[in-house]
Symmetry: C2
Subunit: 418 residues, 2 copies
Amino acid sequence: MSKEKKIITMAEKAKTASRYIASLSSKDKDALLHRMAKLLTERSDFIQVENRKDVEEARKRGVSNALVDRLILDDVRIQGMADALLEIARLPDPVGVMDQFKIRPNGIQVGRMAIPLGVILMIYEARPNVTSDAAGLCLKAGNAVILRGGSEAFHSNTAIVEVLHQALQESGFPKEIIAFVPSTDRDSIHTLLKLNGTIDLVIPRGGEGLIRFVDENSRIPVIKHYKGVCHLYVDQAADLNMAMELLVNGKTSRPGVCNALETLLIHEKIAEAFLNRIEKELRLKDVVFKGCPVTQKYFPQAESATEEDYFAEYLDLKIAVKCVSSVDEAINHIEKYGSNHTEVIATQDISVAQQFIRGIDSSVVMVNTSSRFSDGGQLGLGAEIGISTTKLHAYGPMGVESLTTKKFVVLGEGQTRE
Amino acid sequence: MSKEKKIITMAEKAKTASRYIASLSSKDKDALLHRMAKLLTERSDFIQVENRKDVEEARKRGVSNALVDRLILDDVRIQGMADALLEIARLPDPVGVMDQFKIRPNGIQVGRMAIPLGVILMIYEARPNVTSDAAGLCLKAGNAVILRGGSEAFHSNTAIVEVLHQALQESGFPKEIIAFVPSTDRDSIHTLLKLNGTIDLVIPRGGEGLIRFVDENSRIPVIKHYKGVCHLYVDQAADLNMAMELLVNGKTSRPGVCNALETLLIHEKIAEAFLNRIEKELRLKDVVFKGCPVTQKYFPQAESATEEDYFAEYLDLKIAVKCVSSVDEAINHIEKYGSNHTEVIATQDISVAQQFIRGIDSSVVMVNTSSRFSDGGQLGLGAEIGISTTKLHAYGPMGVESLTTKKFVVLGEGQTRE
């Protein structure tokens, strides 16, 4: 059988298996998640032996220490993967939930019932924990999953999937519920992305290059986010102490993640006061500032910001700064340069806050809150399968509910239409 | 300016205008809908003069009477278009609705707010009333719309858009909120379908050929339905009188629409009794039956059904019939041959009904109700922009709510993340 044919067959088997998993009870799904967690812990040594192969290969290829670190699986991290599955088991089952029930004038009852999407394709790079996290989340929502991890974690991913398959087999479930693509070339992705009759949704997670490749080649709906250029707008009515806490936390607590701040907008009326504080703020002393001319006037150590700086997702201890004359100018700046991820306003003026909430169409809009809270766990979704910065189907952090859709359920007593 | 460039510019202007309409109050949007309705009535003669050009051209091209009839606009139909806009004005505004509000342990409040999608591209054929219906629905949900109607209604559509633009101008709103593609070749569609940074959603309405073309060429998310192969399963526990009413209504009340019945599944234990009734049912005497061997045994006038019959959307007084040995077999048949539109079970057994509801993943599942109720108006959505038979974003009949998405709104008091 050709490689392409093998992949198509695998996807079709996942489709068939998706009907099986869709019919499982919450109890059966949660028992399976518990078994998966238990086996991950029990077979931790096996996974680590396989993981070391990936780590050694990465070191040989001269991969940076930071990236090698993301790859390493030790006892603690494998326990973390198991714990994540147990946390998913504790979430309420999104499938079968009915809402919006109403009775029409002719007596028919109309409601909506959440059902699984079907087959979800996860394409991801680096961190091997995505293998068990994604499998657990898809399964909880009653979906089959096709996992296609990156070459750098191939041995680790293969080992994790072997353990997950053991859990499926011990539970008496078809192992095709969790399908794994045994190759890491782009041909296999190309083949998969054409299967729009078989696969219902693609979620790519990784660098902008991977995501763009998936988006441009997919015939299947894609949920993705390219980057997080998150803004903090410090309004003229801001509590400047609070605004400083939001800036420090948003920029420095974890600069390499997508919900870190990348641009600071300051109302010109408080620009001098706020920039003077920044100068004295010890916790910001390692941060490189790139500012507009007004910024530089009050804060001379700021370098000159270019157009590119306002588009940049630095993922580093750098921040672009611009002084604006109104909340409208701040909203327009975000509309032009933003990435629809997360925007924060610091203000004590409720009207300005309302204007900001209404005017910003990013997936997460915050008032007086650190951008670092913009993730599924922090916003109360339980575990997170990804973040969507496009508006269709899901927008913002996505929990298990995003892996379902809603069908109409209609109950009658023989009603017919005139 | 090249034609391609002109279309791109038009789309970009619609994008800019979408921010304007997104910020309008419910009152302003509803006043605009009222003005549009009033002007359609006032300028009815002008629209009819233009419409007659389309009708004459269609007659010259030898188009069937049925299709010519769909094209004709008279006073009554134009009043119907105006009334539809008034009905849309009466719907609650979906934009700005907040729900799912909760307070997290750290005190931040998290909710979801409905916001417009942005720019919606409608690509449609035939009926010119879609021009005002689609514009009204998109506008109500705070979106800009790009209308691309078919060549057969070009003069009518142009006239209707002229009237709608007059309403926008009299209200002091930018006319780019309702953009109209002034050409009907496929090149213009090709250009539009590439604008995934500018247009947020495409809704094609028309024949399967048009929809497939759009789906295969779009870089923008598409919401569509190809066909409605709706099933009625008459269970062994059905009330046979009720089942007969559902069959007659589903098949004969309007055979040419997508929610008409196309396949009848009968539990073999009541097949003889039910097929004997069909034979005597005068209201079914014009219907052609295509049956499986068991069907033919009890109902000899049925022709032999082929595999194609079970896939067929006849849109005619024809129906495929199959006898099955269980509700599971019925579910499997629907899974294999169905189109995810609407499926009905006739049964008095609540467990079987539950099994059918759980087992069917079509967009509308009905118990003891005519399939003909499967549309937005009948299910209580108000007006309908289309039906989706794919699971992402919207599934089943789509009302104005489907033209919005939800962003997260987070209210804090300076909370930062550890």
